[in-house]
C-alpha cells in the first residue's frame, strides 16, 4: 500500500489518500461531501466514505499531518472550554460529566493511575481531580502545545505528544480515557495499541465517540452532520466497527452502549444554517453557548439513547488479565 499525497490546490490543504484502518484497503463509497462549516479554516471540500467491507466511515482524502496547525485554529473549543467562556453550559456539563466519569472509575483503588489521551484543555482531568478520590494520580497527553499549556495552567500533569510517541511506563495505568479523541487521530488502531501497552493487565479503557448509527446521522449524514466536524474527524464508528477496532488491539469489550449528547444535533442544524447563509442571530441559537437548543436536543436524544441509538457511543474495554501482548 502506498500513500499518495496531493499538493495544496489553490488555498486548499495538502491532502493524502487513505485506506480503511480496519480492512487495510480502499474499497469505499462516498457518503458525504462537506466543508469546514465551524471554523472555516480552508476553502477545501471534504468527502466522507463508508468502507464497503466493514462499514467504517472515514475521511478520504484527508488533510496531511503538515496541516494540523491550520485545521485546529487558535480558538478551537477543546483548548478552552472554560466557565468564563461557556457559563451555564459549562456548569451543567461539568455536573453531568462528573456523574458519568465516576461510574467509569468504579472499583479503582485509592492510588489508581488514570491517563486521559487527547486531554485537550484538561476538562475531564479537572473533574476527576475535583470529584474523584484524592489519591488518584492523573495524567494527560495531547499533541498540541496550546492544549498542554491550558492543562498545565490548571495544575495538571500533561505530556505533549501522542500515546505512540510519549514514553510512558508500560503496564502501569489502571484506567485510560479516550473521550472524543479516537475520531481525531490518524491511526486509531495505533492509539488503541499504545493504550493497551500502557494499561496494566485488567486495566480499562473508556472510549466516547460520535455514533454513525444514530438518528442525527441518518438525518444529516449527507453533509451537515455535526459528527463529521470537517475536516477534524478522520474516523467515525458504529458499534460494530468500534468493537472490531478494540479486538484488533487485543481488548475485551466489557460494555458498549450509546449515551445522550445534544451536541451533534445542535451542530448539524448549525452547519445547515451556515451552509444556506442563514442570518447570524439564527446560527447563534445553535452552539455550545446556547442552553435552549442543548436542553431541547438532550431531551430528544434521551429518547434515542433509551432504544440504543443515542448520539454518542460509549465503550468500556478491558485489557485481558492473562494476555500481555496485543496480537
Amino acid at each position: 500500500m502506498q500513500t499518495l499525497r496531493w499538493a495544496p490546490a489553490g488555498d486548499g490543504l495538502e491532502m493524502e489518500k487513505v485506506v480503511c484502518c480496519l480492512c487495510g484497503i480502499d474499497d469505499a463509497d462516498p457518503v458525504a461531501v462537506g466543508e469546514d462549516f465551524e471554523y472555516h479554516t480552508s476553502p477545501e471540500v471534504f468527502r466522507a466514505v463508508r468502507c464497503r467491507r466493514c462499514s467504517l466511515v472515514y475521511l478520504d482524502p484527508r488533510p496531511a499531518a503538515s496541516e494540523v496547525s491550520r485545521i485546529y485554529p487558535a480558538d478551537y473549543h477543546a483548548y478552552d472550554f472554560s466557565a468564563e467562556s461557556f457559563g451555564l453550559v459549562h456548569a451543567v456539563r461539568r455536573r453531568l460529566e462528573a456523574r458519568r466519569m465516576l461510574s467509569w472509575c468504579e472499583g479503582l483503588g485509592p492510588e489508581a493511575r488514570i491517563l486521559d489521551v487527547g486531554c485537550g484543555d484538561g476538562f475531564h482531568l479537572g473533574i476527576l481531580r475535583e470529584f474523584g478520590r484524592p489519591g488518584w494520580r492523573l495524567e494527560g497527553i495531547d499533541p498540541d502545545p496550546r492544549a498542554v499549556e491550558a492543562g498545565q495552567r490548571r495544575g495538571l500533569t500533561v505530556h505533549q505528544g501522542t500515546i505512540q510517541t510519549v514514553q510512558l511506563p508500560p503496564s502501569s495505568f489502571d484506567l485510560a480515557l479516550l473521550i472524543m479523541t479516537i475520531e481525531h487521530v490518524d491511526d486509531p488502531i495505533g492509539v488503541l495499541d499504545g493504550i493497551f501497552a500502557a494499561l496494566r493487565p485488567g486495566g480499562r479503557c473508556v472510549i466516547v465517540t460520535d455514533n454513525v448509527e444514530s438518528p442525527d446521522f441518518r438525518v444529516f449524514g449527507g453533509r451537515h452532520w455535526g459528527g463529521y466536524h470537517f475536516p477534524r474527524h478522520f474516523t467515525l464508528f458504529g458499534k460494530q466497527t468500534l468493537r472490531a477496532a478494540a479486538a484488533r488491539a487485543g481488548f475485551e469489550v466489557a460494555s458498549l452502549r450509546t449515551i445522550v449528547s445534544p451536541v451533534n444535533w445542535v451542530y448539524s442544524i448549525r452547519n445547515l444554517l451556515v451552509d444556506v447563509h442563514a442570518p447570524e442571530w439564527m446560527v447563534e441559537r445553535f452552539s455550545l453557548r446556547a442552553p435552549g437548543a442543548l436542553a431541547a436536543f438532550t431531551l430528544l436524544d434521551m429518547a434515542n439513547a433509551r432504544v440504543g441509538r443515542g448520539a454518542v457511543l460509549n465503550a468500556i474495554l478491558r485489557r485481558p488479565a492473562t494476555v500481555t501482548e496485543a496480537p
Partner: protein, 467 residues
Amino acid sequence: MSSRPGSKSFPPVAVVGGGVAGLTAARALRERGVPVRIYEVGPQLAGLACSFRDDEGFSFDFGAHFVTNRLAAALGMGAVCRTVQRYGEVVRVGDRFRSYPLGLLASPRHDVSAAVARARALFDATAPQSAAEAFRREYGPAFADEIALPLVEAWSGVAADQLAPSVLQKLPTGIVRTLLMCAVGRLTHRAIAIGYCREQPTSPHVWHVYPEGGTGALCARLAEGLEDVVELQARVERIHVVDGRAVGLRVNGRDVEASAVVSTAPIHVLPRLVEGTDILADFTAFQFRAMTFCNLHLRGRGLLPDVVVWLPERDFRTFRVTEATQSMPWLAPEGKTTLTVDVGCRAGDEWWRLDDAAIVEASLDDVRPLVPDVRERFLGARVLRTPIAYPVFLRDYEAARRRLVDKGTGVDRLLSVGRNGEFDHLLMEDVYYRTLHRVRRLADELCAGGRGFSDREPRASTADAWL
C-alpha cells in the same frame, strides 16, 4: 522501471491511454502497491478532458464535461472549484420552449398518451424490441414521436427502430425526487447534479462545479505523483494475448511484458490491437457517432431561454444548442457569450469534410430562429470535431454489447475502461468510480496471484446512503 519500494514483484500493469480513466486506473493500482506504466499516444495527458482558453478570453472544453463537488473532493481539489449556480434544459416545441422536466409534464395530450401507453404495457409481457418501441411504451407515442425519438435519431444518426431498447435509460432518481432536487437547487443556488452519475446516488448535497483551469485540471490532479510511470507519444500497436490472458504489448515497435492491460482505447479499436485471440471480433462492429461542436462567440449574455436548448424539429441541422456561460459566467469575457452548436455526423461524410467557415455559416443559420440578431452579435467562432462522441446502441450488436457489460472483454487480465472503452454514455464521475471498482478487483487478483479473473462484480446498492 516503474517498481517502487513496497511494490509487488511482477511486471507492471500496462495502462493504455492517459485520460481520466487511464489515470484513475493507474492511481488505484499504485495505491495498492501494484507497479504500473501508462502509455499515452499524444504529446500530453488529458484525453477527452482537455480544456482550452483563447487570446480573447473564451474558455472551452472538448465537449461538455460535468464535474461534481463529490468528485472534486475525492481528488482534493474542492478549493479550486467554483460552484455552478444553475443548470437547466428546455425543449423547443413549435415556437415555444418547454422546460425539463416540469414544462414537459404540463402537456395534457402527451400525458394522456403516456398514461394509455403505460396502461397497455401492463398487459403486454413482451420486452420492447427497439428504442422506438421502448420510448413509445414509456412516454406514450405522442411525446416519443414528436420529441424524444427525433432527438435520439439526430443524436445517433440512426432510425429509432434500428436502435436497441437500452438507449432508454430511465431517470435514475424518479420524477418526484427530480422535482424535489430541482427545487432545492433553486433555493440554494447550486446546480444539483441530477442523473449525472449512475454509480453513486443523486443527492441535494452533490452539485456541478467547475475547476479553475478547466476540466483538464482534473487530469493534472490525477497525474500528480505518476510522472515517473508515464510514457508520452507511446503508440500501442499490439496487445499480446496468450492462452486467453493478456501478457504484454508492443509499444513503438518494442515488446513489453505486462501482468495485465487496462485499455481506454475505443472498444471497436481494441480487437485490432489484440493479437492471439479473436474473442473480441464482435466489438469491431460497434459504432460511435461523430460530432462537430461549433462555438459561436457572441456579444451579450442570456441569449437562450436556458443553458441547453434541445431542438427535436427536423428543420434544424443541430439537435442541441448550449449557452454554458449561463451556468459558468467565467467561461467568456464579461458581456460576451458562447453558444455551442452540436451537429451529429459520420467521420468522413459531407458535413465532416466541410471547412470550418462553412460549419460556422450553417450554425449561424441554424441558431437564427433562437437568436434572430445572431449575425449582428457575432464576434468569431471555433469549430471542434470528434470522430468519437457518443456510442450508438444498434440492435445488430446489442447481444455483444450486453456481453461486454456483463462479462467484460472475455480476455483474462484485459480490462476495457472509460467512456469509449466501456462503450457507454458515461459522464466524468461514473468513469471515475467504475474504473476504480474494476481496477481494484484487478489489483486484488494480482496481489493474490490467483487465476480465473473477472473484473465484473454485482453492483453494490447505495440507494439510501444520501439525503
